[in-house]
């Protein structure tokens, strides 16, 4: 198991956002998390690298209990790549600088070594020629691919995607999904929160449907999309198709 979440609860004040989540993700698996807004999908992802502090429950990444007292959270985090809805590229650094910052500061690599690895990561997302471009000179889709390269460069054991395409213009979504598909083919373990149902049907091993802070149902995409046990899911999927 790369990721093993058990009995995860998360409250913001009086609001309980996660009400006991159990989720296991095996190596090379692509798990898709869907559900209505406010169902706790993003919070679940953000608990997995403790960007949000879980209220209770356990989370293991590659067998390491990341909630254990004294755990080196920075060491854990570099094993978990995260891609955000709003890209969050560093505007004062160019694409290569964005990709290599953690290589140099966290892994303590020299500039030439970091640049080599950074260039390879940019090549994987098809943006070698944009290495010197600053984020404001890139389209949203390109920014998101640089953000993916930034996470990939650290060679994480799992990648978390938090609605990676929902801030993009429709014509830019394809490029990001193509990169994700190619990562999938190269065997990356991925957890994706997204509403790209076509992508989910084609690429996901498993779809998890969340509602009101709980996992309502999970299973292979055909099952969840075509014959879910819960009418709630049918409604939700119909609503996405407009």
């Amino acid at each position: 198991m790369i990721l093993d979440v058990a009995g995860l609860h998360k409250s913001f004040g009086d609001l309980e956002v996660l009400k006991g989540i159990d989720l296991k993700v095996a190596e090379r698996e692509l798990v898709f998390v869907i559900g209505p807004s406010g169902s706790g999908k993003s919070t679940l992802l953000r608990c997995c690298n403790r960007l949000e502090e879980p209220t209770s429950g356990s989370i293991r990444v590659e067998g390491i209990d990341i909630m254990a007292p004294g755990v080196d959270i920075n060491a854990v985090r570099r094993r978990i790549g995260m891609v955000f809805q709003s890209f969050n590229l560093y505007p004062h650094l160019n694409a290569l600088g964005n990709v290599t910052l953690a290589l140099r500061k966290v892994l303590k690599q020299g500039k030439s070594e970091a640049d080599d690895i950074g260039m390879r990561a940019l090549a994987r997302v098809g943006l070698s020629e944009k290495a010197k471009a600053y984020p404001n000179e890139l389209s949203g889709g390109q920014q998101q691919r640089v953000a993916i390269a930034r996470a990939l460069a650290l060679e994480p054991s799992i990648m978390l995607f938090d609605e990676p395409t929902s801030a993009l213009d429709p014509e830019l979504v394809g490029g990001v999904l193509a990169v994700m598909r190619q990562m999938r083919e190269s065997g990356m373990t991925m957890v994706v929160v997204s509403h790209e149902m076509r992508f989910a049907r084609g690429a996901a091993d498993r779809v998890v449907f969340m509602d009101h802070g709980r996992i309502l149902e999970e299973g292979p995409p055909e099952k969840i999309f075509n014959e879910p046990e819960h009418a709630r899911i049918k409604e939700f999927i119909a609503s996405l198709n407009g």
Partner: protein
């Protein structure tokens, strides 16, 4: 017209006191530079300390900042120079002026830097921390470079406003421009040294004001 020139632009008097004004110019420049360095640096340190969000410490910082932003610089200089000796703390007028202006600049700079740090979107922290950067690394590599860029225009303006306060040093016998000009005036019974002093301030601060304007356009934020 002859009388006006005779009174305010008297060449003889001006020539006589020009060396003194030049001396004052050097003192003003020294004082101003020391105020800028100490004030901006301590303001930055205070803002960084505040970012650790230690409650008791932050209350202290906020109290310090609010008091110093509220107190008139002259009052602070007078307290340091005239009041502290009664409890045995003595300092020169130069040091008193430097301390007072630096502390006030530090207070304003702290608020400006802090606002700059808060203005950097949360997502920047999250991206940095999610790649394994520590709090300090994220602050120094990701947040501060962006915060400083946002803060430079307001900080430059505030710094100019406070360094002009070096003229207050005249009240505690700091031999800066205004002091020399006033002294020249009282010895010569002619205000021409004051004119010369005003010109000296213009020579010193107009380039600084221009620099501030250049900085504002140069660092206009783009994403």
């Amino acid at each position: 017209m002859g009388k006006f020139t005779q009174t305010f632009l008297n060449w003889e008097v001006m020539a006589q006191y020009a060396p003194k004004i030049a001396e004052g110019f050097v003192v003003t420049v020294q004082l101003a530079l020391l105020v800028v360095i100490a004030g901006v640096a301590s303001g930055l340190v205070l803002a960084l300390v505040r970012s650790f969000r230690v409650k008791a410490l932050n209350l202290l910082i906020v109290a310090f900042v609010d008091v110093l932003r509220a107190v008139p610089p002259l009052v602070l200089i007078i307290i340091l120079y005239f009041a502290l000796p009664t409890v045995g703390v003595r300092m020169s007028g130069f040091v008193a002026t430097w301390l007072a202006l630096s502390a006030i600049l530090a207070a304003f700079a702290e608020e400006i830097f802090w606002a700059g740090i808060l203005a950097v979107p949360r997502g920047q922290w999250e991206a940095a921390r999610s790649t394994g950067l520590s709090f300090v690394q994220a602050m120094s590599q990701v947040i501060l470079p962006q915060a400083v860029r946002i803060t430079i225009p307001p900080l430059t303006n505030r710094t100019i406003a406070i360094t002009k306060g070096t003229a207050l040093g005249a009240t505690v016998a700091v031999g800066e421009i205004l002091y020399q000009a006033q002294t020249g005036y009282s010895f010569s019974y002619n205000p021409s040294p004051l004119t010369l002093g005003a010109i000296a301030y213009l020579i010193l601060f107009i380039p600084v004001v221009w620099f501030g304007r250049w900085v504002e356009t140069r660092f206009a934020w783009k994403r």
